[in-house]
Subunit: 199 residues, 2 copies
Protein backbone atom coordinates (compact mmCIF):
# COMPACT_ATOMS: atom_id res chain seq x y z
CA UNK A 1 0.00 0.00 0.00
CA UNK A 2 1.31 3.41 -0.97
CA UNK A 3 1.81 5.98 1.77
CA UNK A 4 -0.09 8.45 -0.43
CA UNK A 5 -3.78 8.47 -1.16
CA UNK A 6 -4.42 7.42 -4.83
CA UNK A 7 -5.04 10.82 -6.50
CA UNK A 8 -1.98 12.24 -4.74
CA UNK A 9 0.18 9.27 -5.79
CA UNK A 10 -0.86 9.79 -9.41
CA UNK A 11 0.02 13.50 -9.32
CA UNK A 12 3.41 12.71 -7.78
CA UNK A 13 4.05 10.15 -10.53
CA UNK A 14 3.43 12.75 -13.20
CA UNK A 15 5.58 15.39 -11.50
CA UNK A 16 8.40 12.89 -11.14
CA UNK A 17 8.62 12.49 -14.91
CA UNK A 18 9.70 16.12 -15.27
CA UNK A 19 13.40 16.74 -15.89
CA UNK A 20 15.32 17.52 -12.70
CA UNK A 21 12.41 16.58 -10.40
CA UNK A 22 13.16 13.63 -8.10
CA UNK A 23 10.82 11.80 -5.73
CA UNK A 24 11.34 14.28 -2.86
CA UNK A 25 10.71 17.36 -5.02
CA UNK A 26 7.70 15.71 -6.64
CA UNK A 27 6.19 15.07 -3.20
CA UNK A 28 6.85 18.65 -2.11
CA UNK A 29 5.33 20.09 -5.32
CA UNK A 30 2.26 17.83 -5.07
CA UNK A 31 1.60 18.75 -1.43
CA UNK A 32 2.03 22.42 -2.35
CA UNK A 33 -0.35 22.14 -5.30
CA UNK A 34 -3.22 20.51 -3.41
CA UNK A 35 -3.10 23.34 -0.90
CA UNK A 36 -3.54 26.06 -3.57
CA UNK A 37 -7.00 27.48 -4.36
CA UNK A 38 -9.06 25.37 -6.76
CA UNK A 39 -9.24 28.27 -9.25
CA UNK A 40 -5.47 28.44 -9.50
CA UNK A 41 -5.13 24.70 -10.10
CA UNK A 42 -7.85 24.76 -12.76
CA UNK A 43 -5.99 27.61 -14.51
CA UNK A 44 -2.72 25.67 -14.31
CA UNK A 45 -4.27 22.53 -15.82
CA UNK A 46 -5.87 24.65 -18.52
CA UNK A 47 -2.56 26.39 -19.32
CA UNK A 48 -0.88 23.01 -19.60
CA UNK A 49 -3.41 21.71 -22.12
CA UNK A 50 -3.50 24.98 -24.06
CA UNK A 51 0.28 25.09 -24.38
CA UNK A 52 0.39 21.51 -25.64
CA UNK A 53 -2.49 21.96 -28.07
CA UNK A 54 -1.71 25.41 -29.40
CA UNK A 55 2.06 25.62 -29.56
CA UNK A 56 3.48 24.26 -32.81
CA UNK A 57 6.19 25.45 -35.15
CA UNK A 58 6.46 28.59 -37.28
CA UNK A 59 6.11 27.59 -40.93
CA UNK A 60 8.91 29.91 -41.94
CA UNK A 61 11.59 29.62 -39.25
CA UNK A 62 10.41 26.58 -37.23
CA UNK A 63 10.55 28.46 -33.92
CA UNK A 64 7.79 27.65 -31.41
CA UNK A 65 4.60 29.43 -32.37
CA UNK A 66 0.88 29.24 -31.72
CA UNK A 67 0.12 30.67 -35.17
CA UNK A 68 1.32 29.91 -38.71
CA UNK A 69 4.08 32.47 -38.37
CA UNK A 70 5.85 33.17 -35.09
CA UNK A 71 5.96 36.53 -33.29
CA UNK A 72 9.40 37.24 -34.72
CA UNK A 73 8.57 36.44 -38.36
CA UNK A 74 5.39 38.57 -38.09
CA UNK A 75 7.21 41.55 -36.56
CA UNK A 76 7.51 44.23 -39.31
CA UNK A 77 10.44 45.86 -37.48
CA UNK A 78 12.76 42.88 -37.90
CA UNK A 79 15.52 42.94 -40.48
CA UNK A 80 14.43 40.23 -42.93
CA UNK A 81 17.79 40.13 -44.72
CA UNK A 82 19.59 38.39 -41.87
CA UNK A 83 18.92 34.86 -40.68
CA UNK A 84 20.43 33.41 -37.51
CA UNK A 85 20.61 29.60 -37.64
CA UNK A 86 20.21 27.79 -34.30
CA UNK A 87 19.71 24.18 -33.23
CA UNK A 88 16.77 24.59 -30.87
CA UNK A 89 13.90 26.97 -29.92
CA UNK A 90 15.69 27.46 -26.58
CA UNK A 91 18.55 29.12 -28.44
CA UNK A 92 16.15 31.62 -30.04
CA UNK A 93 14.85 32.50 -26.57
CA UNK A 94 18.40 32.96 -25.25
CA UNK A 95 19.37 35.20 -28.18
CA UNK A 96 16.15 37.22 -27.95
CA UNK A 97 16.87 37.94 -24.31
CA UNK A 98 20.08 39.76 -25.31
CA UNK A 99 17.90 42.29 -27.24
CA UNK A 100 20.88 42.69 -29.58
CA UNK A 101 19.73 40.78 -32.61
CA UNK A 102 17.11 42.26 -34.92
CA UNK A 103 17.08 39.76 -37.79
CA UNK A 104 15.13 36.53 -38.29
CA UNK A 105 15.92 32.99 -37.16
CA UNK A 106 15.96 29.50 -38.54
CA UNK A 107 15.60 26.61 -36.08
CA UNK A 108 17.20 23.40 -37.38
CA UNK A 109 15.46 21.21 -34.79
CA UNK A 110 18.67 19.49 -33.68
CA UNK A 111 22.21 18.79 -34.83
CA UNK A 112 23.59 16.32 -37.34
CA UNK A 113 24.57 13.25 -35.32
CA UNK A 114 25.20 10.01 -37.25
CA UNK A 115 25.62 8.20 -33.91
CA UNK A 116 21.97 8.98 -33.04
CA UNK A 117 20.79 8.44 -36.60
CA UNK A 118 20.13 12.16 -37.17
CA UNK A 119 21.09 13.28 -40.67
CA UNK A 120 20.35 16.55 -42.50
CA UNK A 121 17.03 15.15 -43.71
CA UNK A 122 15.74 14.97 -40.11
CA UNK A 123 16.50 18.69 -39.71
CA UNK A 124 15.07 21.76 -41.46
CA UNK A 125 18.18 22.22 -43.59
CA UNK A 126 16.42 22.04 -46.97
CA UNK A 127 13.88 24.63 -45.85
CA UNK A 128 16.77 26.91 -44.89
CA UNK A 129 18.39 26.58 -48.33
CA UNK A 130 15.04 27.40 -49.96
CA UNK A 131 14.56 30.42 -47.68
CA UNK A 132 18.01 31.80 -48.38
CA UNK A 133 17.46 31.48 -52.13
CA UNK A 134 13.97 33.02 -52.03
CA UNK A 135 14.28 35.71 -49.37
CA UNK A 136 17.37 37.46 -50.80
CA UNK A 137 19.14 36.95 -47.48
CA UNK A 138 22.25 39.13 -47.11
CA UNK A 139 23.82 37.24 -44.21
CA UNK A 140 23.36 33.94 -42.42
CA UNK A 141 24.80 33.88 -38.89
CA UNK A 142 25.36 30.36 -37.59
CA UNK A 143 24.91 30.29 -33.79
CA UNK A 144 25.62 26.68 -32.89
CA UNK A 145 27.65 25.41 -29.93
CA UNK A 146 31.14 24.13 -30.82
CA UNK A 147 30.55 20.46 -29.92
CA UNK A 148 31.45 17.65 -32.34
CA UNK A 149 27.88 17.57 -33.67
CA UNK A 150 27.77 21.36 -33.68
CA UNK A 151 30.91 21.62 -35.81
CA UNK A 152 29.64 18.99 -38.26
CA UNK A 153 26.32 20.79 -38.61
CA UNK A 154 27.97 24.21 -38.98
CA UNK A 155 30.29 22.97 -41.74
CA UNK A 156 27.52 21.12 -43.57
CA UNK A 157 25.03 24.00 -43.46
CA UNK A 158 27.77 26.51 -44.29
CA UNK A 159 28.80 24.64 -47.43
CA UNK A 160 25.21 24.40 -48.64
CA UNK A 161 24.33 28.08 -48.34
CA UNK A 162 27.66 29.74 -49.14
CA UNK A 163 26.78 29.87 -52.89
CA UNK A 164 23.80 32.12 -52.08
CA UNK A 165 24.91 34.53 -49.38
CA UNK A 166 27.50 35.62 -46.85
CA UNK A 167 27.82 33.09 -44.00
CA UNK A 168 29.24 34.05 -40.58
CA UNK A 169 29.55 32.34 -37.26
CA UNK A 170 29.22 33.69 -33.70
CA UNK A 171 32.49 34.32 -31.84
CA UNK A 172 33.95 31.83 -29.38
CA UNK A 173 36.29 33.05 -26.65
CA UNK A 174 36.59 34.03 -23.03
CA UNK A 175 33.16 34.59 -21.47
CA UNK A 176 32.49 38.01 -19.90
CA UNK A 177 33.56 37.94 -16.27
CA UNK A 178 35.56 34.80 -17.03
CA UNK A 179 39.01 34.53 -15.53
CA UNK A 180 41.80 33.87 -18.02
CA UNK A 181 43.55 31.72 -15.45
CA UNK A 182 40.59 29.36 -15.14
CA UNK A 183 39.58 29.19 -18.81
CA UNK A 184 40.14 25.82 -20.50
CA UNK A 185 42.77 25.48 -23.23
CA UNK A 186 40.30 25.05 -26.09
CA UNK A 187 38.43 28.23 -25.15
CA UNK A 188 41.69 30.15 -24.83
CA UNK A 189 42.93 28.82 -28.17
CA UNK A 190 39.63 29.93 -29.77
CA UNK A 191 39.91 33.35 -28.10
CA UNK A 192 43.43 33.81 -29.50
CA UNK A 193 42.37 32.63 -32.93
CA UNK A 194 39.44 35.05 -32.96
CA UNK A 195 41.46 38.09 -31.85
CA UNK A 196 40.55 41.48 -33.35
CA UNK A 197 42.35 44.77 -33.83
CA UNK A 198 41.96 47.14 -30.93
CA UNK A 199 40.03 50.19 -32.20
Amino acid sequence: MSVYTRPLARLIEHLQKLPGIGPKSAQRLALHLIQRPEKEIAAFAEALLAAKQQVGHCQRCFHLSSEDLCNICRDPKRDTQTICVVADPRDVIALEKTREYKGLYHVLGGLISPMDGIGPEQLTVQALVRRVAQEKTQEVIIAISPSVEGETTTLYVGQLIKPFTRVTRIAFGLPMGGDLEYADEVTLARALEGRRDLT
Copy 2:
Protein backbone atom coordinates in the same frame (compact mmCIF):
# COMPACT_ATOMS: atom_id res chain seq x y z
CA MET B 1 6.65 41.69 -26.45
CA SER B 2 7.46 38.44 -24.67
CA VAL B 3 10.03 36.14 -26.22
CA TYR B 4 7.53 33.30 -25.69
CA THR B 5 4.35 32.70 -27.61
CA ARG B 6 1.29 33.41 -25.38
CA PRO B 7 0.22 29.86 -24.36
CA LEU B 8 3.84 29.02 -23.54
CA ALA B 9 4.28 32.21 -21.50
CA ARG B 10 1.17 31.34 -19.48
CA LEU B 11 2.41 27.83 -18.74
CA ILE B 12 5.80 29.20 -17.66
CA GLU B 13 4.06 31.67 -15.34
CA HIS B 14 2.19 28.86 -13.62
CA LEU B 15 5.29 26.67 -13.29
CA GLN B 16 7.23 29.56 -11.81
CA LYS B 17 4.79 29.79 -8.91
CA LEU B 18 5.88 26.34 -7.70
CA PRO B 19 8.26 26.25 -4.73
CA GLY B 20 11.91 25.97 -5.75
CA ILE B 21 11.19 26.58 -9.46
CA GLY B 22 12.83 29.73 -10.83
CA PRO B 23 12.44 31.34 -14.28
CA LYS B 24 15.11 29.11 -15.90
CA SER B 25 13.67 25.86 -14.54
CA ALA B 26 10.15 26.95 -15.45
CA GLN B 27 11.25 27.54 -19.06
CA ARG B 28 12.98 24.17 -19.20
CA LEU B 29 9.95 22.35 -17.77
CA ALA B 30 7.54 24.12 -20.13
CA LEU B 31 9.63 23.32 -23.23
CA HIS B 32 9.87 19.72 -22.04
CA LEU B 33 6.13 19.48 -21.46
CA ILE B 34 5.06 20.77 -24.87
CA GLN B 35 7.22 18.11 -26.50
CA ARG B 36 5.54 15.24 -24.66
CA PRO B 37 2.70 13.28 -26.30
CA GLU B 38 -0.72 14.91 -26.02
CA LYS B 39 -2.08 11.89 -24.12
CA GLU B 40 0.54 12.26 -21.40
CA ILE B 41 -0.17 15.97 -20.95
CA ALA B 42 -3.92 15.35 -20.78
CA ALA B 43 -3.33 12.72 -18.08
CA PHE B 44 -1.09 15.14 -16.15
CA ALA B 45 -3.70 17.91 -16.26
CA GLU B 46 -6.36 15.42 -15.21
CA ALA B 47 -4.23 14.15 -12.30
CA LEU B 48 -3.68 17.73 -11.16
CA LEU B 49 -7.42 18.49 -11.06
CA ALA B 50 -8.28 15.13 -9.50
CA ALA B 51 -5.71 15.56 -6.72
CA LYS B 52 -7.02 19.04 -5.92
CA GLN B 53 -10.68 18.01 -6.02
CA GLN B 54 -10.47 14.65 -4.32
CA VAL B 55 -7.81 14.99 -1.67
CA GLY B 56 -9.15 16.34 1.61
CA HIS B 57 -8.56 15.43 5.22
CA CYS B 58 -9.33 12.26 7.14
CA GLN B 59 -12.17 12.98 9.57
CA ARG B 60 -10.47 11.04 12.32
CA CYS B 61 -6.75 11.88 12.11
CA PHE B 62 -6.71 14.83 9.64
CA HIS B 63 -4.11 13.18 7.40
CA LEU B 64 -4.56 13.71 3.66
CA SER B 65 -7.28 11.43 2.32
CA SER B 66 -9.58 11.11 -0.66
CA GLU B 67 -12.22 9.39 1.46
CA ASP B 68 -13.84 10.10 4.85
CA LEU B 69 -11.21 7.99 6.59
CA CYS B 70 -7.62 7.76 5.39
CA ASN B 71 -5.83 4.56 4.33
CA ILE B 72 -4.19 4.30 7.72
CA CYS B 73 -7.34 4.75 9.83
CA ARG B 74 -9.17 2.19 7.63
CA ASP B 75 -6.40 -0.40 7.87
CA PRO B 76 -7.61 -3.14 10.27
CA LYS B 77 -4.01 -4.21 10.96
CA ARG B 78 -3.05 -0.96 12.66
CA ASP B 79 -2.76 -0.76 16.42
CA THR B 80 -5.59 1.62 17.36
CA GLN B 81 -4.37 2.11 20.91
CA THR B 82 -1.39 4.26 19.94
CA ILE B 83 -1.61 7.73 18.38
CA CYS B 84 1.40 9.55 16.97
CA VAL B 85 0.89 13.33 16.97
CA VAL B 86 2.56 15.26 14.12
CA ALA B 87 2.39 18.80 12.78
CA ASP B 88 1.89 18.09 9.08
CA PRO B 89 0.79 15.36 6.60
CA ARG B 90 4.40 15.34 5.34
CA ASP B 91 5.48 14.03 8.74
CA VAL B 92 3.04 11.12 8.46
CA ILE B 93 4.54 10.24 5.07
CA ALA B 94 8.07 10.40 6.49
CA LEU B 95 7.15 8.16 9.44
CA GLU B 96 5.25 5.69 7.23
CA LYS B 97 8.34 5.31 5.05
CA THR B 98 10.26 3.93 8.05
CA ARG B 99 7.75 0.99 8.17
CA GLU B 100 8.41 0.92 11.92
CA TYR B 101 5.26 2.47 13.30
CA LYS B 102 2.03 0.47 13.32
CA GLY B 103 -0.28 2.78 15.29
CA LEU B 104 -2.52 5.63 14.17
CA TYR B 105 -1.71 9.31 13.65
CA HIS B 106 -3.11 12.69 14.50
CA VAL B 107 -2.16 15.63 12.28
CA LEU B 108 -2.33 18.95 14.10
CA GLY B 109 -2.18 21.01 10.91
CA GLY B 110 0.62 23.25 12.15
CA LEU B 111 2.33 24.40 15.31
CA ILE B 112 1.28 26.91 17.96
CA SER B 113 2.87 30.19 16.95
CA PRO B 114 1.55 33.37 18.61
CA MET B 115 3.82 35.44 16.30
CA ASP B 116 1.87 34.16 13.27
CA GLY B 117 -1.46 34.30 15.08
CA ILE B 118 -1.75 30.52 15.27
CA GLY B 119 -3.23 29.35 18.57
CA PRO B 120 -4.50 25.90 19.61
CA GLU B 121 -7.95 26.72 18.20
CA GLN B 122 -6.49 26.90 14.65
CA LEU B 123 -5.13 23.38 15.10
CA THR B 124 -6.88 20.03 15.61
CA VAL B 125 -5.96 19.92 19.32
CA GLN B 126 -9.56 19.64 20.60
CA ALA B 127 -10.26 16.77 18.23
CA LEU B 128 -7.17 15.00 19.60
CA VAL B 129 -8.34 15.39 23.19
CA ARG B 130 -11.75 13.99 22.21
CA ARG B 131 -10.13 11.06 20.37
CA VAL B 132 -7.89 10.18 23.30
CA ALA B 133 -10.85 10.20 25.68
CA GLN B 134 -13.10 8.17 23.35
CA GLU B 135 -10.70 5.70 21.76
CA LYS B 136 -9.15 4.36 24.98
CA THR B 137 -5.70 5.30 23.68
CA GLN B 138 -2.86 3.64 25.61
CA GLU B 139 -0.05 5.90 24.42
CA VAL B 140 0.32 9.19 22.60
CA ILE B 141 3.73 9.67 20.95
CA ILE B 142 4.48 13.29 20.16
CA ALA B 143 6.70 13.51 17.04
CA ILE B 144 7.28 17.23 16.64
CA SER B 145 10.55 18.96 15.73
CA PRO B 146 12.29 20.68 18.65
CA SER B 147 11.92 24.28 17.37
CA VAL B 148 10.54 27.06 19.61
CA GLU B 149 7.03 26.53 18.18
CA GLY B 150 7.52 22.77 18.33
CA GLU B 151 8.42 22.87 22.03
CA THR B 152 5.46 25.13 22.84
CA THR B 153 3.08 22.83 20.98
CA THR B 154 4.54 19.68 22.55
CA LEU B 155 4.19 21.11 26.08
CA TYR B 156 0.66 22.41 25.46
CA VAL B 157 -0.62 19.20 23.89
CA GLY B 158 1.19 17.08 26.48
CA GLN B 159 -0.46 18.93 29.39
CA LEU B 160 -3.92 18.54 27.86
CA ILE B 161 -3.80 14.79 27.26
CA LYS B 162 -1.70 13.62 30.20
CA PRO B 163 -4.84 13.16 32.39
CA PHE B 164 -6.12 10.53 29.92
CA THR B 165 -3.15 8.48 28.81
CA ARG B 166 0.58 7.91 28.73
CA VAL B 167 2.36 10.62 26.71
CA THR B 168 5.83 10.07 25.17
CA ARG B 169 8.04 11.97 22.83
CA ILE B 170 10.39 10.79 20.04
CA ALA B 171 14.10 10.78 20.91
CA PHE B 172 16.46 13.59 19.93
CA GLY B 173 20.15 12.88 19.53
CA LEU B 174 22.94 12.19 17.12
CA PRO B 175 21.57 11.22 13.68
CA MET B 176 22.65 7.84 12.27
CA GLY B 177 25.87 8.28 10.30
CA GLY B 178 26.32 11.64 12.00
CA ASP B 179 29.79 12.53 13.20
CA LEU B 180 30.06 13.45 16.88
CA GLU B 181 32.73 16.00 16.05
CA TYR B 182 30.42 17.92 13.70
CA ALA B 183 27.20 17.69 15.72
CA ASP B 184 25.96 20.99 17.14
CA GLU B 185 25.99 21.55 20.93
CA VAL B 186 22.22 21.43 21.36
CA THR B 187 21.98 18.08 19.58
CA LEU B 188 24.85 16.69 21.65
CA ALA B 189 23.31 17.98 24.88
CA ARG B 190 20.02 16.29 23.91
CA ALA B 191 21.86 13.07 23.05
CA LEU B 192 23.55 13.06 26.48
CA GLU B 193 20.30 13.87 28.24
CA GLY B 194 18.50 11.02 26.42
CA ARG B 195 21.18 8.40 27.12
CA ARG B 196 20.06 4.82 27.80
CA ASP B 197 21.55 1.82 29.52
CA LEU B 198 23.54 -0.40 27.24
CA THR B 199 21.76 -3.75 27.03
